[in-house]
C-alpha cells in the first residue's frame, strides 16, 4: 500500500488555504466528472481519486492528522494512542470518521488512515454506469449468438442479435457500480466494435468486396466465383468489363439488426489483373492486337 500525496492529486501546496483547495477540487471535479465524460473509462477512476483527495485537506481534523503523520501514517494509531494517554483525554477515536460512503469508494491507504469512509453527506444515488467495449469479428456479428462475459467477477450471458452495428451500445441493467446510500446499482453499457474482415468491408448494412478477374475474362466475358457471407456465388462477367466496374448483389450483404430475413447488399468491384511474364509468342500476339486496335481508331 503506497502513501498518497493528496495535495499533489489536487495540485495545491501543503500550505494551501481552504479556498485554494476548494477551487482546485471544483476545477478538477468539473474536468473529470463521469457524467461529463460519458465514454471515458478513466474519468470515473480519476473522479474518485479527486474526491478522496478532497476529503482530507477539506476536513480540518483529517488534514491535521494527515499533515502530522505524513509518510508515517501506518503508525498513526499508535502515535494517537500515546498522545491521548499523555493528555488523559478519553475516547474521540477516529472510528467516528466512518461516514456515509461505502469503504470501496476509497483507497486502501485512505481507509487505513481514516476508517471506512468519508464524512461528506451525499443523498442516495444509483451507482455509476460502466462502459465497456466488445470486439466482434465481422462474420460473428453477422450471426445471432450467445456470449458469456465476466463483469466484476459475475458471469453474464448475453445474446447478441445478428447485424449489430459498429459502435452500437446495449445496456445491462444493474451491472454497473454499486449504489451509494442504498441506491440501486448502475448499469453497464457495452459498445460493440466490429473488426475488419480480410475479405469484406462493411458500411451500414452493405458489404463491399474486391474481386480479381483476369484480363481475358474481362475482355471476352465469362464467369467468376465470389464469396458471400451466405456461401460462394457464381457471377457472369459481361464482355469488355472495365477495371473498377461495380456489381450489386441484392440481399447478399449484412443482416439487418432485429429484422429477421432482411439483409443489405453486397457490392463487388472488379479488379482486372494483367498477365505477367509474357512469352515472345504472347507478346507478339498482344502487339498484333494493339496494331489492329490502332488501325481501328
Amino acid at each position: 500500500m503506497d502513501f498518497i500525496d493528496y495535495y499533489q492529486v489536487l495540485g495545491v501546496s501543503r500550505n494551501a488555504t481552504d479556498d485554494e483547495i476548494k477551487k482546485a477540487y471544483r476545477k478538477l471535479a468539473r474536468q473529470h466528472h463521469p457524467d461529463l465524460n460519458p465514454n471515458d473509462k478513466e474519468a470515473h477512476k480519476k473522479f474518485q481519486q479527486i474526491n478522496e483527495a478532497n476529503e482530507v485537506p477539506s476536513d480540518p481534523e483529517k488534514r491535521r492528522r494527515y499533515d502530522q503523520y505524513g509518510k508515517d501514517w501506518q503508525h498513526a494509531d499508535q502515535f494517537e494512542q500515546a498522545r491521548r494517554q499523555q493528555q488523559h483525554s478519553p475516547g474521540g477515536g477516529y472510528e467516528s470518521f466512518s461516514g456515509e460512503f461505502g469503504g470501496e469508494d476509497f483507497s486502501e491507504f485512505f481507509t487505513s488512515m481514516f476508517g471506512a469512509g468519508g464524512s461528506r453527506r451525499r443523498p442516495a444515488f444509483k451507482g455509476t454506469d460502466f462502459e465497456a467495449e466488445l470486439a466482434l469479428p465481422l462474420r460473428q456479428a453477422a450471426q445471432t449468438h450467445a456470449q458469456t462475459l465476466t463483469i466484476n467477477g459475475k458471469q453474464v450471458r448475453i445474446t447478441i442479435p445478428a447485424g449489430v452495428a459498429d459502435g452500437q451500445r446495449i445496456r445491462l441493467k444493474g451491472y454497473g457500480g454499486e449504489g451509494a446510500q442504498g441506491g440501486p446499482a448502475g448499469d453497464l453499457y457495452i459498445t460493440f466494435r466490429t473488426e475488419d474482415d480480410p475479405l469484406f468491408k462493411r458500411v451500414g448494412n452493405d458489404l463491399y468486396l474486391t474481386q480479381n478477374i483476369d484480363l481475358f475474362t474481362a475482355l471476352l466475358g465469362g464467369e467468376t466465383v465470389v464469396q458471400t457471407l451466405q456461401g460462394p456465388v457464381k457471377l457472369k462477367v459481361a464482355p469488355e468489363t472495365d477495371n473498377g466496374t461495380k456489381v450489386r448483389l441484392k440481399g447478399k450483404g449484412f443482416p439487418l439488426y432485429k429484422k429477421e430475413g432482411e439483409t443489405g447488399d453486397l457490392y463487388v468491384t472488379y479488379q482486372i489483373l494483367l498477365p505477367k511474364n509474357l512469352s515472345p509468342e504472347e507478346k507478339s500476339l498482344v502487339q498484333q492486337l494493339a496494331a489492329l486496335q490502332k488501325n481501328k481508331s
Binding site: 466528472h33 460519458p38 451525499r122 444515488f125 444509483k126 454506469d129 458500411v203
Partner: protein, 95 residues
Amino acid sequence: MIQLTIVQFCEHYGVAPQFIEALVEYGLVEAPVAGQTVQVHDHQWPQVERWLRLHHDLHINIAGLEAVEQVLQRLEQLQQENQQLRSRLRLYETD
C-alpha cells in the same frame, strides 16, 4: 411510470422541491408535476439522477445543466458522425 409525491422524491434525493420544478420547467425532465405528485417514466430515472449528480457534485445550476445537456447532445452526435466517417474511410484503406 412511477408516481411519487414531491416530498418522497425530494427526501429520496435530498433536494429542494424547487429544484425538481425547475428541471421540469427547463424541459430537462419530462415529468408532469400534478398537484403534489411528480410522475417520472422509468426510462427517465437515469437522466434525473444524472442532473442531480451534476447539481450536487459540481454545484451546477439549472441554466448550467441546460447548457451541459446541449453540449453532451452535440458530443454524442459528433461521436456518431466520427464513427460513420471512420467506417467509410476504412473502405479506402489498403490492407
